[in-house]
């Protein structure tokens, strides 16, 4: 591996200073180090969250490039605002809040654009076609879902209003607790639960309309 041949002074000194135990540290302890300007600790944080965050944001915005940009921006903001993080809340909650706010404002931006554009968006076709399965061919920014089913489900998530989409993604994909979701979305747990209920029902309603069967 090239890693071995190109070990440079920085990496060696890292190993000597005992940074390996960073891998077992709690997020909050690690982030304390980040607040002391330890870049290596931040790399560990990024490593822990990059896939989760990307998955979450991708399911929200359903576009690979957009999701990558947003997650990058989220990490950048986490780093820039590291001194604003107070240890009273979970680090994961805080990071998710930043990423989700970016994703939500992106969705809002899109909605505005859609509102002013005269061309109908591809998503609107589905309502016109009625119960027919909408065109769910993978677009350019689409991850290749492994099957039709995956594409149909993602498409159904796309159709959900933003407030339901957020809770469904956070609850059923990211598997965060209702308390965490409430903290992220800044609303009471009861509200989160009722949104989860409604989101799930709407989603299933769409899937039933498209005659998508989940066994």
């Amino acid at each position: 591996m090239s890693e071995n041949t190109s070990i440079n002074a920085v990496q060696v000194s890292d190993i000597e200073s005992g940074s390996l135990d960073e891998l077992t540290m709690s997020d909050e302890t690690l982030f304390y180090r980040v607040q002391q300007d330890d870049v290596r600790a931040f790399e560990v944080i990024v490593g822990r969250y990059r896939t989760r965050l990307y998955n979450c944001v991708y399911r929200m915005v359903h576009n690979t490039e957009c999701a990558e940009d947003l997650v990058q921006e989220a990490f950048l903001r986490v780093y820039r605002n590291r001194h604003n993080y107070k240890a009273i809340s979970n680090l994961s909650t805080w990071i998710y809040t930043i990423a989700l706010n970016l994703a939500r404002s992106e969705l809002r931006k899109r909605k505005r654009r859609q509102f002013f554009s005269l061309n109908a968006s591809p998503h609107e076709n589905s309502s016109r076609e009625g119960i027919d399965l909408p065109d769910m061919n993978a677009g350019p920014g689409d991850h290749l879902e492994q099957n039709e089913l995956g594409r149909a489900i993602q498409h159904a998530i796309d159709q959900l209003p933003e407030k339901y989409k957020s809770v469904i993604v956070l609850r059923d994909i990211e598997e965060l607790s209702y308390e965490e979701i409430g903290e992220i979305l800044r609303c009471p747990t009861g509200t989160v639960k009722s949104r989860v209920n409604r989101g799930r029902l709407r989603l299933q309603e769409m899937l039933r309309q498209w005659q998508v069967e989940i066994l």
Partner: protein
């Protein structure tokens, strides 16, 4: 309790978090209430559907771009420290203003200007005493503006665009023949020298980067041409994003990335090299920028 009361308990019921008594009550209610029974069934299928979605992971290039972005951010902060940070903090007392980019940019610009001036003076005083300094280049620090050598992609129509002439003046060591790309030894690949000479003979601030270490994140500048002590983390430049463009080499080793830079930069005449790749890929490497 009515239906909506039971509905409020459904999320916890689906998680198995409901207390025994409440669960029994809900089950009893659903026995007699087909609507609630259907709701639970729908919610269950919805959960199953969403959970059946595969985990999506970012593209390999994502990490490069992210680390480049973060490195720049770290460098920006380091560069600004410590007095600039104090000034910045003083400004932040005035409000959110200083958090906004323009103010930071003004600081950065003034700093760049200062260094340019100092670099110019240093270059005038002792241009020959510098170890490893090449005849053309005159200064260690590379400044993004205005001396950044920008190489536009070779234009096949015009016979000899100015960029090309400039590109010929770029000396690449230790691999003079940049076409022998694939056999670049990994140790040698860690050293690249760019010596921009045309029009820059008497100007300070021209990039002369001598030792570059390929790391997992891209190229790291370990020392400068003048032997000036530099903080390595200050000058880390990743080659993510627009630099990784040649078809099929997206996941290549850092050495290869480095090499691509060499070939694309030096070979001004190579008009189609990078562009002949599969359609849809971005244009080949245009420039090296050591920015901070």
């Amino acid at each position: 309790m009515n239906c909506s009361g039971y509905e409020r308990q459904m999320p916890d019921y689906l998680d198995g978090q409901l207390s025994r008594a409440n669960e029994d009550a809900l089950r009893f209610h659903m026995n007699g209430c087909p609507r609630c029974r259907l709701k639970i069934k729908d919610m269950e299928s919805s959960i199953r559907a969403v959970k059946s979605l595969a985990l999506v992971t970012p593209q390999p290039e994502f990490d490069y771009r992210l680390s480049s972005l973060l490195t720049k951010e770290v460098a920006r902060e380091l560069y600004a420290a410590p007095w600039l940070r104090r000034v910045s903090e003083a400004f932040s007392d005035l409000g959110e203003l200083s958090r906004q980019r323009p103010v930071q940019l003004v600081f950065a610009a003034s700093l760049v200007l200062t260094i340019t001036v100092f670099g110019g003076i240093a270059g005038l005083i002792s241009p020959s005493e510098r170890p490893g300094s090449s005849p053309g280049g005159s200064m260690a620090l590379s400044l993004p503006t205005p001396f950044e050598p920008e190489l536009a992609p070779p234009d096949p129509i015009s016979p000899d665009p100015p960029d090309r002439a400039f590109a010929r003046n770029l000396a690449l060591k230790p691999e003079p023949n940049a076409e022998q790309a694939t056999s670049f030894p990994s140790t040698a690949a860690s050293r690249l020298t760019f010596t921009p000479s045309r029009n820059y003979n008497d100007s300070p601030g021209v990039m002369t980067v001598q030792t570059m270490e390929p790391t997992a994140h891209g190229i790291q500048v370990v020392s400068s041409g003048t032997g000036m002590p530099l903080d390595p983390s200050l000058f880390t430049e990743s080659l993510g994003g627009d630099l990784v463009t040649d078809g099929g080499t997206a996941q290549s080793e850092p050495e290869e990335r480095l090499l691509q830079v060499g070939t694309a930069e030096v070979n001004g005449q190579r008009s189609t090299g990078g562009q002949s790749g599969p359609a849809g890929l971005p244009a080949p490497i245009k420039r090296i920028r050591i920015s901070f």
